[in-house]
């Protein structure tokens, strides 16, 4: 179905716990019929109801938390879920969460080979039942390590590797089948998670991970053909940590997860958590994990106890809204309760990321929990059946060289460059996603290839075809010899690499061809600079000595834009929190102008780059979500294509008359605002 903004609508695939037809469900209050404006609403039902109740939660974006089996560092593995969890489940239900994750302990459940501790399994059953009573659904994670109590290390395993040892894998299959057989009829179970990051990081090869996943998955499918299965790992973060490419294994599952691990944050965006690249990391990984399947934003929240409660809440707010506006299928916070730590000594600081919850160790709510409540309430009023995000026709391309091992450094540089490009596109307010070099490009109108060292020959052919058939390609030079295809695609001649420079200069030769560019000379370390000579391309900007910096070439029905320096890499490798404003503006302008010319520019323009704008399109009205990535309050001025008659906060309140195409919205520091736009 065509939309007003152009482009085909992409089918939504979401993890929807309340809507799985095959699994008997507890009736839920937020049935679609109760949603105002829903097409499914029967007139008789509307007449019978005095006033439609606002939905309690968004069934297409469920929110939840992991309940960890241990609460303090001093507890051991046999204290697994020993504390009565009903207080937490009450609070979670009251906060309108939809999901909880429980971590199975193999060590507890199978203390001796083939001998299961039935009391422990009963304990798990009681937990699932208690969750069900609170209208919560459970993700059961089989092989989860909490990194404290070695929950997966069975004493009889004799230190063999439970991931690859045939005997232990058979025991794992037996355990999984026992649990699935016991709980398959339980409507409280939403999904099976095979393992978590801590367990999977022990795999040494992709084939071993894939084989293990297939074996466990088949074991579940023998008994339960319906419930979704997930592996519980983020492919990008796992590859970074272990060098294991989990994509093939994840493809065998029904949904994926994205997870900003402590190590990945340290690698990609080490810095303040409420500003700059940190605030885009959740959405970036969500996009990279999206492989045509729903992706759950997993383990959101801060990673250490270094932050104030206010910062924890702000970081969580950003992550949750990032998930919603970037087509996430739901979100799970890292843990419900803080882990009670021992008194700190300098040599015993916990390096792992299982510390911080949304309540303190005694269960007292922290501001982060309040933030989640607010989010759930607000998100409940965004009917994702009625409103669709603007299709992402711009993609940042992750080069295949990212998967090359050391000593090739591309795998280390490329993800950072892609993140910088992703942020640049977001700052240009473009609907943007991340694709891989080997993916099909036909769904996109604009491709951004940021600072890649090398692309495959076949990719160059595909890019040439992409541009010929009307696509726009923006590629920045990555260093080394340029491929000969750039002559044909970009209409330029590569003369060599001028090497590193500490100042980037821009002299605009053709204004308005690629947005409103400014002349500048700024201090930023640029690792390479391509010396180019003119061909058929139009030189839009040069450096201070007249060497082309930005060129545009018309090829067939498309355009090819070449940036002579790896600016995205320079931004990422420099100080991403202190990138010169002129460089940020240049990238924003160029990305925005390329997308605009390709017909997929920002659906709503905004004068504050730090505000992420997402337009959800409805039948008669639209919904715009604004997220402030800055730690200061801002006032964003928005401009729409159509004349807006009024805007209404989705949480309620009276419509505010606009009567034009521009209006201003104040947004708190790291805040989010969702507005319904009614058109004249």
């Amino acid at each position: 179905m065509a939309t007003r903004k152009g482009g085909p609508r992409q089918p939504r695939e979401r993890v929807a716990p309340a809507e799985k037809p095959a699994v008997p469900q507890t009736p839920r209050k937020e049935a679609p019929a109760a949603v105002a404006g829903s097409k499914q609403t029967a007139p008789a039902e509307v007449a019978a109801a005095p006033a439609p109740k606002p939905p309690r939660r968004n069934s297409l974006f469920p929110v939840g938390a992991t309940i960890y089996p241990l609460d303090t560092e001093t507890e051991s593995w046999n204290d697994w879920y020993l504390r009565d969890q009903s207080e937490d489940l009450d609070a979670i239900g009251e906060a309108r969460f939809a999901l909880v994750r429980l971590l199975v302990s193999w060590k507890v459940l199978e203390p001796q080979v083939g001998q299961y501790d039935e009391r422990a399994i009963d304990r798990l059953e009681d937990l699932i039942a208690a969750a069900r009573e609170k209208k919560l659904q459970v993700i059961v994670c089989f092989f989860a390590d909490d990194r404290h109590a070695e929950l997966t290390e069975v004493p009889w395993g004799k230190k063999r590797d439970p991931r690859t040892d045939n005997y232990l894998v058979q025991r794992e299959v037996a355990l999984v089948q026992k649990l699935v057989a016991r709980f398959r009829a339980d409507p409280g179970v939403f999904a099976w998670q095979l393992a978590n990051e801590a367990f999977c990081s022990g795999f040494e090869t992709s084939s071993a991970l894939e084989a293990w996943t297939r074996q466990l998955r088949e074991a579940i499918r023998e008994l339960d053909e319906e419930r979704p299965i997930t592996l519980g790992i983020d492919p990008e973060a796992l590859f970074r940590a272990t060098g294991v490419d989990a994509r093939a294994a994840i493809d065998t599952c029904e949904f994926g997860v994205s997870h900003v691990t402590a190590a990945y944050r340290a690698y990609a965006a080490e810095g303040p958590i409420t500003s700059g690249p940190s605030t885009y990391l959740d959405s970036f990984l969500l996009r990279t994990a999206g492989r045509g399947k729903p992706v759950l934003l997993d383990e959101v929240g801060v990673l250490s106890l270094d932050y104030s409660p206010g910062e924890e809440a702000a970081a969580l707010r950003i992550a949750l809204w990032s998930g919603l506006v970037n087509r996430g299928a739901g979100a799970l916070v890292r843990r419900y309760r803080d882990l009670e730590t021992e008194r700190r000594e300098p040599y015993f600081l916990d390096p792992f990321e299982t510390l911080v919850g949304v309540t303190d160790g005694a269960g007292r709510p922290k501001p982060a929990l309040g933030e989640m409540r607010t989010f759930v309430k607000t998100a409940a009023r965004i009917d994702l059946r009625h409103f669709e995000p603007t299709p992402e026709r711009t993609a940042v391309i992750m080069p295949a060289e990212r998967y090359l091992p050391l000593p090739n450094l591309a795998g280390l540089f490329d993800p950072r460059s892609c993140l910088a490009a992703f942020i640049g596109a977001k700052e240009a307010h473009l609907p943007v996603t991340v694709a891989f070099e080997t993916d099909d490009f036909s769904a996109y109108s604009v491709l951004l290839v940021p600072s890649a060292f090398e692309l495959a020959e076949k990719t160059w052919e595909r890019l040439a075809g992409f541009v010929q058939s009307g696509g726009s390609l923006l590629l920045s030079y990555g260093g080394g010899d340029a491929n000969s295809a750039i002559r044909e695609i970009f209409g330029i001649e590569f003369l060599g690499d001028a090497g590193p420079r500490s100042t980037l200069s821009c002299r605009v030769a053709q204004q308005e061809v690629l947005g409103t560019l400014d002349n500048f000379d700024v201090n930023i370390d640029v690792p390479n600079y391509a010396l180019l000579s003119g061909g058929t391309a139009t030189i839009v900007a040069t450096d201070a000595k007249g060497s082309p910096l930005l060129t545009v070439n018309q090829v067939g029905q498309g355009r090819a834009i070449y940036l002579a320096a790896p600016v995205e890499r320079a931004i990422a490798q420099g100080d991403p929190w202190a990138t010169p404003a002129a460089v940020r503006k240049m990238m924003r302008e160029v990305y925005g102008a390329v997308a605009r010319a390709a017909g997929c520019g920002a659906p709503v323009t905004c004068d504050v780059p730090e505000v992420e704008v997402t337009l959800f399109q409805g039948e008669t009205d639209d919904l715009v979500v604004l997220m402030n990535h800055a730690p200061e309050k801002v006032s964003a001025n928005l401009t729409t294509d159509r004349r807006v008659s009024s805007v209404t906060d989705v949480r309620g309140g009276a419509p505010v008359a606009v009567g034009g195409t521009a209006f201003g919205v104040p947004i708190e520091a790291n805040g989010a605002v969702a507005l319904r736009l009614a058109y004249a």
Binding site: D306, P346, F348, L349, Q573, G574, A578, P631
Partner: protein
């Protein structure tokens, strides 16, 4: 020469020239020949550290230390990797302790140790480490900045401010700023012999500036005196005279000379600087200093230092919001400005933004340690010791 030696030297040469990717490739080649060479692992760690790839740097440096527990450059790379990565303060503390034992006179090890202690919330131990660093080198500005930040956390800005001032005086970047205003840069050529200077005003002034740059203040004074004997109203010479007074802690004289220069010409940036710096040295004259540095920041808007100086004056006036804006501008202009980073951390602490303040201190350490180039000093010593 053996094959191993060739590969090692190639890797080292490439690394020294800043060619990271080929240097990493050469290191791997060298390790194929001999994977038990700690020097190559240490070099690899440094290369990964250059690219901010901390986990890889940690792995390579740890391997080097496994192979030789006395490999000082590997300890440095490992400690820096832990600190820059963040969240691994316990390991970091151990490494800096070790390095301080292996190279006892390495001031940076004590400064970093203090910062690791502070990050792990061990303030007493941190202060002890910074004091130790100052004992080794009384002109170590980062130790002084850190002590000032610690004082700010404990007793507030009034107590901390003298520490920030003192650290600023130790920081050579302020002198560099004066000379950049005067158009003097380190081009590698030595200052001329005063006896060989041509007897004209421009030659004398130029030579005096170069001599002052090399901290030969007495020769510079002699030349300035000759200029002022001929023309007592030479504003640029007066400004340099003021600077020389400042270097000798003669603040009143510097102030009066700078005022005289300003009376002659208000468009002498060096004189404006000297006047502002003189005001800033008198605690009661922060308002005057802020006005003067405000004017200087307008006159030289693209240099970070006048914004830093303005911000420091504003701190003295307790105008934290304005100070923060000036510091932010300075960081924007020069992300590697250690002084601006520490100042910004101080303002953020007054606002209760502890984690952001901590980040600024860490960034200051990041840029300071990158600038120092300590790795090569330790590397050369270690390599020399082995041979």
């Amino acid at each position: 020469m053996s094959g191993r030696g060739q590969q090692s030297l190639l890797a080292e040469g490439l690394a020294r020239q800043g060619h990271v990717a080929p240097a990493v490739e050469a290191c791997y080649q060298a390790l194929r020949v001999d994977d038990a060479d700690p020097l190559i692992h240490a070099l690899l760690a440094e290369l990964f550290l250059t690219g901010d790839f901390y986990d890889e740097a940690i792995a390579a440096a740890s391997r080097a230390i496994e192979l030789d527990p006395d490999c000082a450059p590997a300890y440095l790379a490992l400690g820096l990797a832990y600190d820059r990565r963040g969240g691994m303060w316990d390991q970091s503390i151990l490494v800096w302790h070790e390095l301080a034992e292996v190279v006892p006179d390495l001031v940076t090890a004590h400064v970093q140790l203090g910062e690791a202690f502070a990050s792990a919330a061990f303030q007493e131990e941190a202060i002890e480490a910074w004091r130790m660093a100052l004992e080794l080198d009384a002109s170590e500005p980062r130790a002084m900045y850190n002590l000032a930040v610690a004082a700010l956390k404990r007793e507030g800005m009034a107590t901390a401010l003298p520490g920030f001032r003192r650290a600023g005086e130790l920081d050579p970047s302020q002198d560099d700023f004066f000379f950049s205003l005067a158009g003097v840069y380190d081009d590698g050529t030595p200052a001329p012999d005063p006896a060989d200077v041509a007897p004209d005003r421009d030659s004398r002034l130029s030579a005096a500036l170069e001599l002052a740059f090399e901290e030969d203040f007495f020769s510079a004074v002699d030349l300035i005196r000759l200029i002022l004997d001929e023309d007592p109203d030479d504003a640029e010479a007066l400004a340099l005279a003021g600077y020389l007074y400042l270097k000798q802690e003669a603040v009143n004289e510097a102030m009066s000379v700078a005022l005289r220069a300003m009376a002659v010409s208000t468009r002498t940036p060096t004189a404006v600087y000297v006047l502002g710096a003189s005001f800033a040295k008198r605690p009661g004259l922060n308002r005057n200093a802020a006005r003067v540095f405000g004017a200087l920041a307008k006159a030289v808007p693209d240099d970070a230092m006048p914004h830093v100086l303005l911000a420091e004056s504003l701190l003295g006036l307790q105008r934290y919001g304005q100070a923060k804006n000036s510091y932010l501008r300075a960081v924007e202009l020069d992300p590697a400005c250690v002084r601006a980073r520490f100042g910004l951390a101080a303002v953020l602490l007054t606002e209760g933004e502890h984690s952001r303040a901590h980040w600024e201190v860490r960034r200051a350490a990041y840029h300071d340690t990158r600038r120092q180039g300590l790795f090569w000093r330790l590397y050369d010593t270690y390599a020399g010791g082995r041979s």
